[in-house]
C-alpha cells in the first residue's frame, strides 16, 4: 500500500551535487540571465541588499531582503511568492543556499527553506517537486550548458 500522508514541516532541506566550481554555482543562483533558464523562467536578481524576482514578462514575482550575501559560499534571503495572491498574503519565509566545494571539482549545493511556520500554503507549494525542479535545473544547466526544460 502506498501511503501519502505527509505532514508539511516548517523546515525543508534539499541537496544536490553539481560538477562545477563554487563560483559557477554562485553565478547560476544569483544572476537573472542564468535563473531565467531554470527557475520557471523567473529572472532572479540577488544583491547584498535585495532579492528581486521578475516573471518572464517582467511581472513582479516577489522581493525581499538579502539576509546574508557571502560569495561564493552562502546566500540567505527572504522568500515571498507574489505570483499567487493566496501565497502573497502569507508572511515572508527564509531561503538559505549553501555551496560547499568537494573533492573532484564537485560542489554540494544545499537549499534550506525555513521560517514557514506561519506560511503553510507557501510550504506546500514549494515542497517536493518545487525545489527539486529548481535544483535539477541548476545541475543540468551547469553540467551540460543546456536548460533542462524547453
Amino acid at each position: 500500500m502506498i501511503t501519502s500522508t505527509f505532514t508539511e514541516t516548517t523546515v525543508q532541506v534539499y541537496q544536490v551535487f553539481i560538477k562545477a566550481s563554487a563560483e559557477q554555482v554562485w553565478d547560476a543562483i544569483t544572476k537573472p540571465e542564468f535563473t531565467a533558464l531554470y527557475f520557471h523562467g523567473a529572472r532572479v536578481e540577488n544583491t547584498p541588499e535585495l532579492h528581486v524576482v521578475h516573471g518572464p514578462d517582467g511581472e513582479d514575482w516577489g522581493d525581499g531582503k538579502t539576509i546574508d550575501f557571502d560569495p561564493p559560499r552562502r546566500l540567505v534571503h527572504d522568500w515571498q511568492s507574489l505570483y499567487d495572491p493566496d501565497l502573497a498574503a502569507e508572511p515572508a519565509s527564509r531561503v538559505t543556499w549553501e555551496i560547499e566545494p568537494q573533492d573532484g571539482g564537485v560542489c554540494k549545493l544545499t537549499i534550506v527553506h525555513d521560517r514557514l511556520d506561519a506560511s503553510p500554503k507557501t510550504a506546500a507549494s514549494v515542497s517536493g517537486a518545487g525545489w527539486m525542479h529548481v535544483l535539477s535545473g541548476v545541475k543540468t544547466l551547469l553540467e551540460t550548458g543546456e536548460p533542462l526544460f524547453g
Binding site: 501511503t3 500522508t5 505527509f6 505532514t7 514541516t9 523546515v11 525543508q12 532541506v13 534539499y14 541537496q15 544536490v16 551535487f17 560538477k19 564537485v106 544545499t110 534550506v112 517536493g128 527539486m132 535544483l135 535539477s136
Partner: protein
C-alpha cells in the same frame, strides 16, 4: 555519479523504513527515530550514515540537536535518468503498434 550509493542505500528494508518515517515527519533527531523503530540505536546510526553518504538524508545542527531531513533529489534523479527512459520507450512501442494496426485495418 552517486547512483551506486543510492541504489545500495535503497536496497535495505530498514533504510527504506527510515526514509518513510522521515517522509511522514521530517527533521528528526536520532533519539526520535530510535524510539519508533525496532532497531538498536547503533543500527539506526549505521543506517542513517549510509543514507547520508548516498545523499538521501541530510543532517543539520539546530542548537544542540542534530536533525535528519529526507532529501528527495537523488530519487528524483534516478527517476529522471532511469524510469523516464524506459517508460518512454514503452509508450512509443505502443504508439507504433497502434499505427501499425490502424494502417493494416
Amino acid at each position: 555519479m552517486e547512483d551506486d550509493a543510492v541504489f545500495k542505500a535503497l536496497s535495505d528494508p530498514s533504510r527504506r523504513l527510515l526514509l518513510d518515517r522521515l517522509f511522514e515527519r521530517d527533521g528528526r533527531t536520532l533519539t526520535e527515530l530510535d524510539a519508533e523503530l525496532e532497531m538498536t540505536r547503533f543500527g539506526v546510526m549505521k543506517h542513517l550514515r549510509v543514507l547520508e553518504e548516498a545523499g538521501l538524508v541530510v543532517s543539520r545542527k539546530q542548537g544542540r540537536e542534530k536533525l535528519h531531513f529526507l532529501n528527495p533529489v537523488p530519487i528524483r534523479e534516478i527517476h529522471d535518468r532511469w524510469i523516464d527512459k524506459y517508460t518512454e520507450r514503452r509508450v512509443s512501442a505502443l504508439l507504433d503498434l497502434k499505427n501499425e494496426l490502424e494502417e493494416s485495418a
